[in-house]
């Protein structure tokens, strides 16, 4: 209990440490600005934006690097709804449900109102989720501290299983993708007996694949190549202007906001489901509990608020397993924890206990970033349509070069560029054939940990193997994981069903 209180007690000190540094403010605002840009631009998105930031964060002081990441993280997820509302193209996959009502509002001449709902709901969703993880994370960590090698292996396995089973409507592709990532993660010298595994005689691969370079390839180069496959860019029309934020509407929707935030956090907590499922799940919940369900899809403020609150809460909720166990809940968070590794933190059970101010610091930065998004989103929405008119064919070459510089800068070895090419082409092929990439990233991140933990657990219990399977905590973890697996499959099916129903209804309406 004392360690939990110590974590909370570190808040005032962290406020002074983090917010007392002017560089933190500067890079947080840069992060918000860049995050806003990548969030509103279809084809860029939070994952690519944050992957690009990986190439530079390790060069910055820790506080400053975290500020940049947190700014980008919040703003890139939160701003996707603006594009969804203005041009009916979700800037991020998490904003897909926002198109339904946001664009309907824009067509009614209420585009500024739609942007207002989108930004303010994103900010509220983020803030509620930040408060929630600040309160709950020390408890989760104290449970995670009881994890031995066996339990950690089980959790990694569970992440892979669920990530595959919940990715898209073809789970077999998710599992293949996850297992491929798992396999790639084990390349190089392993840590139990230093046996070298399939490095193909390349000495640069003795340390394995660099996860930062892998992400720059998968989400950067791969995405650039995939986006540029079509000659025509999207068209923009509509009117810009300052967003209109209607506070009384939010006060009226307080129950909807809290419900959506909690649903978002829950979905974020489960590895592999992601923000896009969270927004549909909450949208459906809001529709079912609304007094005016017939308005959904025709410009309902309730629908917009639910979707935007949930997708932002979900992205923050995904930090819970990431910080406690080192297992990312989403691809964006996978990049976030890779950045923590680069900054010499070790996400996992001991992270919060060894550096209690890290949780407070991240929460403060996310909180301020949410306020920054409110300010920036308000001011920048006037130029959003101009930003959207930049053709991909002009923008993407710069992204490709940034990925290259970032990959090289991360390792300072030319071999990083060969890895970048490999992962770029792999990402492209996976995208072309509709194999989900987040399971591969999850496999890549947890593969080595799972392997080491499994082998260490068996070595430890080699003389009495029955005891390994009967470890009370391991049994609890297994039971809990099976329960979560069932619940999450149910949640996922519900969100997919809701998405299908909502889209079907909208299509019928259009006809």
């Amino acid at each position: 209990m004392s360690s939990i209180i110590a974590t909370w007690a570190s808040l005032p000190g962290a406020i002074v440490n983090y917010l007392g540094d002017w560089q933190v403010w500067v890079f947080l605002l840069i992060g918000v600005a860049v995050g806003y840009f990548v969030g509103v631009m279809p084809g860029l998105g939070p994952t690519m934006g944050m992957a690009l930031a990986l190439g530079i964060v390790y060069k910055l002081p820790t506080h400053v690097g975290l500020a940049l990441l947190c700014g980008m993280f919040v703003a890139s997820v939160g701003s996707g709804g603006i594009t969804a509302s203005l041009i009916n193209i979700p800037g991020t996959s998490a904003a897909a449900a926002t198109c339904m009502d946001g664009y309907a509002l824009a067509k009614q001449g209420k585009g500024r109102e739609a942007c207002g709902y989108s930004i303010f709901a994103s900010v509220i969703g983020t803030i509620l989720a930040v408060i929630f993880i600040f309160l709950i994370q020390p408890f989760v960590t104290s449970i995670a501290l009881k994890f031995g090698d066996w339990e950690t292996f089980l959790f990694c396995l569970f992440g892979l299983l669920i990530c595959g089973s919940l990715s898209g409507d073809q789970p077999i592709k998710g599992w293949i993708s996850a297992l491929l990532g798992f396999f790639l993660a084990m390349c190089g010298a392993e840590s139990v007996q230093s046996v070298v595994r399939y490095n193909l005689g390349v000495s640069d691969l003795l340390g394995g694949f660099n996860t930062v370079v892998a992400m720059l390839g998968l989400f950067g180069i791969g995405e650039v190549l995939y986006t540029l496959r079509h000659k025509e860019s999207f068209k923009t029309d509509g009117k810009g202007g300052f967003p209109i934020i209607k506070i009384p509407v939010f006060i009226k929707n307080i129950g909807n906001v809290i419900r959506s935030a909690l649903a978002g956090i829950w979905i974020g907590f489960i590895p592999g489901i992601g923000e896009s499922a969270a927004c549909w799940f909450s949208y459906d919940l809001a529709k079912r509990s609304s007094k005016k369900p017939e308005k959904f899809g025709k410009g309902s403020s309730e629908g917009m608020i639910a979707a935007e609150t949930a997708n932002n809460a979900s992205s923050i909720g995904a930090l819970i397993p990431a910080l406690a166990l080192g297992i990312p809940g989403s691809s964006t968070v996978a990049i976030f924890i890779s950045a923590l590794f680069l900054m010499n933190y070790r996400p996992g059970p001991t992270l919060v206990m060894q550096t209690p101010d890290i949780l407070s610091g991240i929460c403060i930065l996310l909180f301020v970033a949410a306020l920054g998004l409110l300010l920036f989103g308000f001011l920048a929405s006037r130029i959003t349509l101009k930003l959207l008119s930049i053709p991909e064919s002009v923008l993407m070459p710069l992204i490709a070069v940034f990925c290259t510089v970032g990959a090289y800068g991360t390792t300072n070895t030319p071999f990083a560029l060969i890895q970048l090419a490999f992962f770029g082409v792999l990402g492209l092929v996976l995208k072309i054939y509709n194999f989900p990439i987040p399971p591969l990233v999850l496999g890549l991140l947890v593969g080595k940990t799972a392997d080491t933990c499994l082998r260490r657990a068996f070595l430890q219990y080699s003389s009495e193997i029955g005891k390994l399977f009967l470890r009370p905590f391991g049994l609890c973890v297994m039971a809990a994981l099976i329960l979560v697996l069932v619940l999450s499959i149910v949640s996922d099916r519900k969100s997919k069903k809701a998405m299908a129903e909502i889209k079907e209804a909208a299509e019928e309406e259009n006809q």
Partner: protein, 158 residues
């Protein structure tokens, strides 16, 4: 079986081939230097155990995937027309060649050639040539000079 059905399960065969390749790589992993007496525990703690399990699972999934593709219960088509495939191929080739060239000739010359080539290829007929050159020059300055200078990234220009 018509031509489309024949083509439809090719991605499944690719996954099977991948599984076989990974299986070969897993089998090639050498034994642990320190062996345990209990053979089962020793097998599980071998460095090749998980890679072996994964490659076998990929192989099994590959077979299931192929059967499902052949039956038409799932789809795995790229959906690309010939034009898009050619364009995609050219872009991929340019990028891979660029990355390989940077490892040999450092950043400045390959990046200049890549940016100019890519911008002209993607925007030919849409933007004036001198505008594209200016954009390429700005990108080079931003990506290779300003950003590395601010962040103190060590990249070799020439």
């Amino acid at each position: 079986m018509d031509k489309n059905n024949k083509k439809s399960f090719v991605p499944g065969l690719v996954v099977i081939a991948l599984g076989l390749f990974l299986l070969y790589l897993s089998i090639s992993i050498s034994n642990n230097p320190v062996q345990l007496e209990n053979r089962i525990i020793n097998f599980i703690t071998e460095a090749r155990f998980l890679p072996l399990m994964i490659s076998i699972t990929i192989l099994i999934l590959g077979v299931i995937f192929t059967i499902k593709l052949a039956k038409g219960t799932i789809t795995c088509a790229s959906g690309m027309t010939k034009d898009v495939a050619v364009r995609e191929g050219i872009l991929t080739l340019m990028t891979v060649v660029y990355l390989v060239l940077v490892t040999k000739f450092n950043f400045l010359i390959p990046t200049t050639a890549y940016l100019v080539g890519l911008l002209f290829y993607l925007n030919w007929g849409k933007k004036k040539w001198w505008v594209l050159l200016i954009i390429a020059a700005i990108y080079i300055v931003v990506a290779l000079i300003i950003t590395p200078y601010i962040l103190q990234l060590k990249i070799h220009l020439l």
